[in-house]
Protein backbone atom coordinates (compact mmCIF):
# COMPACT_ATOMS: atom_id res chain seq x y z
CA UNK A 1 0.00 0.00 0.00
CA UNK A 2 1.51 3.24 -1.09
CA UNK A 3 1.00 6.55 0.67
CA UNK A 4 1.27 8.29 -2.67
CA UNK A 5 -1.57 8.35 -5.13
CA UNK A 6 -0.59 6.60 -8.34
CA UNK A 7 0.47 8.88 -11.13
CA UNK A 8 0.07 7.88 -14.73
CA UNK A 9 1.91 10.12 -17.14
CA UNK A 10 2.30 9.52 -20.83
CA UNK A 11 5.69 9.41 -22.43
CA UNK A 12 5.47 12.97 -23.71
CA UNK A 13 4.21 14.28 -20.37
CA UNK A 14 7.08 12.62 -18.54
CA UNK A 15 9.48 13.96 -21.13
CA UNK A 16 8.24 17.53 -20.79
CA UNK A 17 8.18 17.40 -16.99
CA UNK A 18 11.69 15.98 -16.88
CA UNK A 19 13.03 18.61 -19.28
CA UNK A 20 11.36 21.46 -17.42
CA UNK A 21 12.54 20.40 -13.96
CA UNK A 22 16.12 19.70 -14.98
CA UNK A 23 16.34 22.90 -17.02
CA UNK A 24 15.15 24.88 -14.01
CA UNK A 25 17.79 23.30 -11.78
CA UNK A 26 20.53 23.80 -14.37
CA UNK A 27 19.57 27.44 -14.81
CA UNK A 28 19.72 28.22 -11.10
CA UNK A 29 22.92 26.28 -10.49
CA UNK A 30 24.72 27.41 -13.61
CA UNK A 31 23.93 31.09 -13.75
CA UNK A 32 23.82 33.88 -11.20
CA UNK A 33 21.92 36.79 -12.70
CA UNK A 34 18.15 36.38 -13.18
CA UNK A 35 18.24 37.34 -16.85
CA UNK A 36 21.01 34.85 -17.56
CA UNK A 37 19.10 32.19 -15.67
CA UNK A 38 15.97 32.67 -17.75
CA UNK A 39 17.95 32.49 -20.97
CA UNK A 40 19.80 29.38 -19.81
CA UNK A 41 16.61 27.67 -18.66
CA UNK A 42 14.88 28.31 -21.98
CA UNK A 43 17.92 27.26 -23.98
CA UNK A 44 18.40 24.10 -21.94
CA UNK A 45 14.72 23.23 -22.24
CA UNK A 46 14.83 23.75 -25.99
CA UNK A 47 17.89 21.52 -26.31
CA UNK A 48 16.21 18.80 -24.23
CA UNK A 49 13.26 18.86 -26.61
CA UNK A 50 15.44 18.96 -29.69
CA UNK A 51 17.65 16.06 -28.64
CA UNK A 52 14.76 14.00 -27.29
CA UNK A 53 12.61 14.37 -30.37
CA UNK A 54 15.66 13.92 -32.58
CA UNK A 55 16.51 10.62 -30.91
CA UNK A 56 12.86 9.56 -31.17
CA UNK A 57 12.86 10.22 -34.91
CA UNK A 58 16.18 8.45 -35.32
CA UNK A 59 14.75 5.38 -33.59
CA UNK A 60 11.51 5.42 -35.54
CA UNK A 61 12.68 3.22 -38.46
CA UNK A 62 13.65 0.48 -35.98
CA UNK A 63 10.35 0.46 -34.11
CA UNK A 64 8.55 -1.73 -36.62
Amino acid sequence: MSLLSPLNLTHIQSFLLFAAVISLAFGFLGRRRPKDRVKYILWSFFLFLLVGIGIAWAMYPFSR
Binding site: M1, S2, L4, L7, H11, S14, L17, V21, A25, F28
Partner: protein, 152 residues
Protein backbone atom coordinates in the same frame (compact mmCIF):
# COMPACT_ATOMS: atom_id res chain seq x y z
CA UNK B 1 58.38 47.15 5.95
CA UNK B 2 60.04 49.24 3.29
CA UNK B 3 61.20 48.07 -0.08
CA UNK B 4 64.88 48.55 0.84
CA UNK B 5 64.66 46.25 3.81
CA UNK B 6 63.16 43.60 1.56
CA UNK B 7 66.09 43.82 -0.78
CA UNK B 8 68.73 43.60 1.93
CA UNK B 9 67.06 41.06 4.20
CA UNK B 10 68.79 37.66 4.14
CA UNK B 11 66.79 34.84 2.68
CA UNK B 12 65.96 31.93 4.91
CA UNK B 13 66.41 29.51 2.04
CA UNK B 14 68.02 29.94 -1.34
CA UNK B 15 65.43 30.41 -4.06
CA UNK B 16 64.76 27.26 -6.00
CA UNK B 17 64.17 27.36 -9.68
CA UNK B 18 60.64 26.90 -10.92
CA UNK B 19 61.50 23.63 -12.61
CA UNK B 20 62.89 21.90 -9.56
CA UNK B 21 60.75 23.43 -6.81
CA UNK B 22 58.49 20.81 -5.25
CA UNK B 23 54.83 21.71 -5.02
CA UNK B 24 53.82 23.07 -1.65
CA UNK B 25 52.22 20.49 0.60
CA UNK B 26 48.43 20.62 0.51
CA UNK B 27 47.11 21.24 3.95
CA UNK B 28 43.63 20.67 5.24
CA UNK B 29 42.39 24.14 6.08
CA UNK B 30 39.36 24.93 8.24
CA UNK B 31 37.60 26.42 5.23
CA UNK B 32 38.02 23.13 3.40
CA UNK B 33 36.51 21.28 6.33
CA UNK B 34 33.61 23.70 6.29
CA UNK B 35 33.18 23.14 2.55
CA UNK B 36 33.04 19.38 3.09
CA UNK B 37 30.48 19.87 5.83
CA UNK B 38 28.36 21.98 3.51
CA UNK B 39 28.60 19.34 0.79
CA UNK B 40 27.52 16.58 3.18
CA UNK B 41 24.67 18.75 4.48
CA UNK B 42 23.57 19.40 0.90
CA UNK B 43 23.61 15.70 0.18
CA UNK B 44 21.68 14.76 3.31
CA UNK B 45 18.95 17.35 2.78
CA UNK B 46 18.70 18.71 -0.76
CA UNK B 47 19.24 22.46 -0.76
CA UNK B 48 20.68 22.64 2.75
CA UNK B 49 24.21 23.21 1.48
CA UNK B 50 23.19 26.29 -0.45
CA UNK B 51 20.99 27.45 2.41
CA UNK B 52 24.00 27.39 4.74
CA UNK B 53 25.75 29.62 2.22
CA UNK B 54 22.69 31.91 2.20
CA UNK B 55 21.99 31.15 -1.44
CA UNK B 56 18.28 31.02 -0.87
CA UNK B 57 17.14 30.87 -4.48
CA UNK B 58 19.38 27.95 -5.32
CA UNK B 59 18.54 26.20 -2.06
CA UNK B 60 14.81 26.39 -2.67
CA UNK B 61 15.11 25.32 -6.31
CA UNK B 62 17.29 22.32 -5.43
CA UNK B 63 14.90 21.31 -2.66
CA UNK B 64 11.83 21.63 -4.89
CA UNK B 65 13.28 19.99 -7.99
CA UNK B 66 14.85 17.03 -6.22
CA UNK B 67 11.72 16.61 -4.09
CA UNK B 68 9.45 16.82 -7.12
CA UNK B 69 11.47 14.23 -9.01
CA UNK B 70 11.38 11.87 -6.04
CA UNK B 71 7.64 12.30 -5.48
CA UNK B 72 6.82 11.86 -9.15
CA UNK B 73 9.16 8.89 -9.48
CA UNK B 74 7.73 7.17 -6.43
CA UNK B 75 4.16 7.95 -7.52
CA UNK B 76 4.88 6.29 -10.85
CA UNK B 77 6.12 3.29 -8.88
CA UNK B 78 9.66 3.51 -10.07
CA UNK B 79 12.29 1.13 -8.82
CA UNK B 80 14.19 2.29 -5.74
CA UNK B 81 17.34 0.21 -5.77
CA UNK B 82 18.73 -1.29 -2.58
CA UNK B 83 22.22 -2.30 -1.54
CA UNK B 84 21.36 -5.91 -2.31
CA UNK B 85 21.64 -5.60 -6.06
CA UNK B 86 22.20 -8.52 -8.37
CA UNK B 87 24.56 -6.88 -10.81
CA UNK B 88 26.61 -3.76 -11.48
CA UNK B 89 23.64 -1.90 -12.92
CA UNK B 90 21.68 -2.40 -9.71
CA UNK B 91 24.65 -1.10 -7.75
CA UNK B 92 24.91 1.93 -10.02
CA UNK B 93 21.20 2.52 -9.62
CA UNK B 94 21.57 2.28 -5.86
CA UNK B 95 24.36 4.85 -5.85
CA UNK B 96 22.30 7.18 -8.03
CA UNK B 97 19.20 6.77 -5.86
CA UNK B 98 21.19 7.24 -2.68
CA UNK B 99 22.37 10.59 -4.02
CA UNK B 100 19.00 12.03 -3.01
CA UNK B 101 20.07 11.71 0.63
CA UNK B 102 17.22 11.71 3.10
CA UNK B 103 14.70 11.84 0.25
CA UNK B 104 15.77 8.32 -0.73
CA UNK B 105 14.72 6.97 2.65
CA UNK B 106 11.58 9.10 2.56
CA UNK B 107 10.66 7.61 -0.81
CA UNK B 108 11.25 4.12 0.52
CA UNK B 109 9.02 4.88 3.48
CA UNK B 110 6.09 6.18 1.43
CA UNK B 111 6.37 3.72 -1.44
CA UNK B 112 5.31 0.60 0.38
CA UNK B 113 3.77 -1.10 -2.61
CA UNK B 114 7.15 -1.62 -4.20
CA UNK B 115 8.14 -0.90 -7.76
CA UNK B 116 6.04 -1.82 -10.74
CA UNK B 117 8.10 -1.64 -13.89
CA UNK B 118 5.77 -3.88 -15.86
CA UNK B 119 4.42 -0.74 -17.52
CA UNK B 120 6.28 2.16 -19.07
CA UNK B 121 5.31 4.56 -16.28
CA UNK B 122 7.21 2.54 -13.71
CA UNK B 123 10.27 2.60 -15.91
CA UNK B 124 10.01 6.36 -16.27
CA UNK B 125 9.66 6.60 -12.49
CA UNK B 126 12.92 4.70 -12.07
CA UNK B 127 14.66 7.31 -14.23
CA UNK B 128 13.09 10.15 -12.27
CA UNK B 129 14.36 8.71 -8.99
CA UNK B 130 17.87 8.17 -10.32
CA UNK B 131 17.92 11.66 -11.80
CA UNK B 132 16.86 13.15 -8.47
CA UNK B 133 19.87 11.53 -6.81
CA UNK B 134 22.36 12.57 -9.45
CA UNK B 135 20.96 16.11 -9.52
CA UNK B 136 21.33 16.36 -5.76
CA UNK B 137 24.93 15.15 -5.97
CA UNK B 138 25.57 17.83 -8.57
CA UNK B 139 24.02 20.45 -6.30
CA UNK B 140 26.10 19.26 -3.34
CA UNK B 141 29.24 19.51 -5.48
CA UNK B 142 28.21 23.01 -6.53
CA UNK B 143 27.72 24.00 -2.89
CA UNK B 144 31.15 22.59 -2.06
CA UNK B 145 32.75 24.61 -4.84
CA UNK B 146 30.87 27.72 -3.80
CA UNK B 147 32.00 27.27 -0.19
CA UNK B 148 35.59 27.15 -1.42
CA UNK B 149 35.06 30.33 -3.40
CA UNK B 150 35.47 28.73 -6.78
CA UNK B 151 31.92 29.39 -7.94
CA UNK B 152 29.26 31.87 -7.06
Amino acid sequence: MSQDSNETAPLAQPPASLDTAPPPPREFSPSEGKAWGIAVAGWLLPGLGHALLRMWGRASVVFVTVGLLVVVGASMRGNLFTSEGNDAFDTLGYVADLGAGSFYFLARAVERGGPDVSHAGGDYGTRFLATAGVLNLLAALHAYEAARGRKA
